[in-house]
């Protein structure tokens, strides 16, 4: 009798215990999946995106979780290495959706991966806000389940850059560049844009992605004495370009370097020699009109003890903000979420963002300049945080 009673008591206590834990845990976590290039060609570039995701997750979880149509749920990441291979990314996203049954998706790093995923997302009917992808080809993608918050689209950049150079009185330019998709695409649009702006191209050179010695190219540039030097380079050869240009004494009042300067190590590595460089980027923490910009910058520096990449980290964080605000409205239903992303206006660290088809319809195509180690927007005037200063 006593035994039976105590057993009943135990069961009751057990049930109470279960109830207690269930209540404490409240809603189950939200699973968010993505692939990231931990190995391979893009392994050096991809962390700038992962840090943005991690910062966002920690900030949201610190606030009690992601607002899913009114309920707060903690964020949990499901991530895999895609080995910098787009076909691997395709398989991973299929796995994330069908096998891991994640609730939401974030983007992988790089244009090829985004493009390879467009068809998969369409098939899965699973919306994803992209980030680190830029190509005029993205307009060919059928609008539906993928969006691109970037405004650094090659054809628009080419026109804007040429206009900006003309405004600075540039008459002659040297264009050097690496043979990678993004730089090739920019060159294609840049050459006619320069001609239209009345700027004469005095040197035009391309080199393969693994080129180490740019001396021959740079000697030509030095001998031509152009008003502007445009280096359509990627992080590796941007460093090579800077180092060797310094050794050979190659410089111009207007100097543009495509990809690399916005990464934290770059201004640290070159110090005053990087001052006055122009690069692509549409975000700066100094823009007062975007109230979320500076707090994001400060939180990032506090967490990682390094500055965010002004291009990719900012874009990655924007894609998280857009997702967060859309999910708060729509919940996790994929069709409702798709409609919320396609139709909404979002408050991001880069100001308001709204999509027209697959593209960001608000953020202007802009350029950054390094001024005393700080990144300032200098073009266009509507978002500029400082005036252009010629290189000394």
């Amino acid at each position: 009798m006593l035994a039976r009673f105590s057993r009943a008591l135990l069961v009751a206590a057990g049930l109470a215990g279960l109830g207690g834990t269930a209540m404490a845990q409240s809603a189950p976590p939200v699973k968010i999946g993505f692939s990231i290039a931990k190995t391979g060609l893009f392994a050096a570039a991809a962390p700038s995106q992962l840090t943005a995701y991690e910062l966002w997750r920690d900030q949201v979880n610190a606030k009690g979780g992601l607002d899913v149509g009114g309920t707060k749920r903690r964020i949990e990441f499901v991530q895999y290495d895609d080995q910098s291979d787009p076909s691997q990314a395709v398989r991973i996203y299929e796995k994330l959706a069908n096998d891991d049954k994640v609730d939401l998706l974030l983007a992988p790093w790089g244009t090829p991966h985004h493009f390879a995923l467009a068809g998969v997302l369409e098939r899965l009917k699973f919306p994803m806000v992209g980030n680190s992808a830029a190509s005029s080809q993205l307009r060919d993608i059928k609008p539906g389940y993928i969006w691109f918050p970037t405004s650094a689209i090659p054809d628009r950049m080419a026109t804007e850059l040429a206009t900006m150079m003309k405004g600075q009185g540039v008459k002659t330019a040297a264009v050097t560049g690496v043979q990678l998709p993004f730089s090739i695409e920019i060159r294609k649009f840049l050459m006619p844009a320069l001609e239209k702006a009345g700027i004469k191209v005095v040197v035009s050179q391309e080199y393969p992605p693994d080129a180490k010695d740019l001396t021959a190219v740079l000697t030509q540039v030095r001998n031509a004495k152009p008003d502007a030097i445009l280096s359509l380079s990627y992080p590796n050869d941007s460093v090579g370009f800077m180092t060797q240009a310094k050794e050979l004494g190659v410089s111009a009042p207007f100097q543009f370097v495509l990809v690399g300067p916005t990464i934290d190590f770059f201004p640290k590595m070159f110090g005053p020699a990087a001052d006055g460089l122009i690069t692509i980027g549409h975000w700066s923490p100094h823009q007062k009109a975007w109230p979320r910009a500076k707090p994001f910058f400060d939180a990032y520096v506090a967490k990682f003890n390094a500055r965010p990449d002004y291009l990719d980290t900012a874009l990655a964080y924007m894609s998280c903000e857009i997702l967060e605000q859309a999910v708060a409205k729509s919940g996790l239903d994929r069709e409702k979420l798709r409609a919320a992303i396609a139709g909404g206006t979002f408050d991001t660290i880069n100001g308001p963002v709204k999509f027209d088809g697959v593209q960001n319809a608000i953020t202007p195509t802009a350029f950054l300049q390094i001024q005393k180690g700080e990144f300032h927007l200098v073009w266009p005037k509507t978002v500029a945080t400082s005036d252009f200063q010629p290189r000394k």
Binding site: Y80, Q83, D85, V90, N98, A116, S135, K142, Q179
Partner: protein, 299 residues
């Protein structure tokens, strides 16, 4: 015995054929990857396993096929791009085979690798001159269709490897591997046989590349001609072992499953293990998985 083994392979092929009916997209995707490596490694052994001419540049045929497919896509019917890819890869092998197959040993290894890199940069330059920068493929066929195409290619590659090994051609190739000069003196038409083997081992990788271009719906030369493709093929053939059809199947199955188990959480470890495995097999089990299994069966 032989009949029982044959039935086993037929059963395996039928099981693979039923997979799209049973599994979701993820399983079909995994199946495509597995079949792709089987097709590539089987094609590779027709040249390298049988003649001993180790190709470290088979990615060139894969990439070329992918390129032909994306160029033809939307301009020609799909099957034309598919067959064109195989034809282009085979013809390319014939064209370069005559000079390339004159060098042996390490020189051939380096030459094939260099050739793959050369073609990669030629295509990057051509695309740059055309103002192209990677090509998107719209309206690719559904996953199951690509799966059956790949299954067809893998089966064909296995049959070719199996048949060649048991034919006069295979005997000639084995003679070349053992002693090319002696074979030539004995009247084996070495130059012709090597060329045929080279073209045979190139055509299917070309078509595999074409299917994979549709699978990832994006073509970019750096990815399509990636040396990793060549390395993986060699690793699978070495680990699977031998110069006969079952070897690469075992090698591909083993490595694809291993990478599937590891890439989820230990991607860096996968590459380390792959390196150790290749070294281990070359040193301690040069006959590969297939050879080991056969020895176990016949002590």
């Amino acid at each position: 015995m032989i009949r029982r083994t044959a039935w086993m392979w037929v059963g395996l092929a039928l099981a693979m054929a039923a997979l799209p009916q049973l599994g979701g997209d993820y399983l079909i995707g995994l199946g495509i990857t597995l079949l792709m490596w089987i097709a590539l490694a089987e094609s590779w052994i027709v040249l390298s396993g049988m003649t001993g001419y180790v190709s470290f540049g088979h990615a060139v045929f894969y990439g070329l096929g992918a390129y032909v497919m994306v160029v033809c896509w939307n301009n020609l019917p799909g099957w034309a791009g598919f067959l064109g890819a195989g034809l282009a890869a085979g013809l390319f092998a014939l064209a370069i085979g005559y000079p390339v197959l004159r060098v042996r040993g390490p020189y051939f290894v380096i030459l094939t690798y260099g050739l793959a890199e050369l073609v990669k940069f030629l295509i990057i330059n051509t695309e740059a001159a055309l103002g192209k920068f990677g090509r998107l493929v719209f309206g690719a066929p559904p996953l199951a269709t690509l799966y059956y195409l790949m299954l067809g290619l893998a089966t064909l590659a296995v049959l070719i490897a199996w048949t060649v090994r048991r034919s006069r051609l295979g005997l000639g190739l084995a003679a070349i591997r053992e002693d090319e000069t002696a074979a030539e003196n004995a009247g084996v038409p070495v130059a012709r046989l090597k060329l045929i083997a080279f073209a045979l081992s190139a055509a299917i990788p070309g078509m595999v590349g074409a299917v994979m271009a549709l699978r990832s719906s994006y073509f970019e030369p750096l990815q399509a001609f990636s040396p990793t493709v060549s390395f993986n093929i060699v690793a699978m053939a070495v680990i699977g072992g031998g110069d006969d059809a079952p070897g690469p199947i075992l090698g591909a199955l083993f490595l694809v499953l291993l990478s599937e188990l590891l890439w989820a959480h230990l991607p860096e470890v996968y590459m380390i293990i792959l390196g150790l495995l290749v070294i281990g097999f070359v040193l301690f089990a040069p006959e590969g998985l297939h050879g080991r299994l056969q020895r176990l069966r016949r002590p």
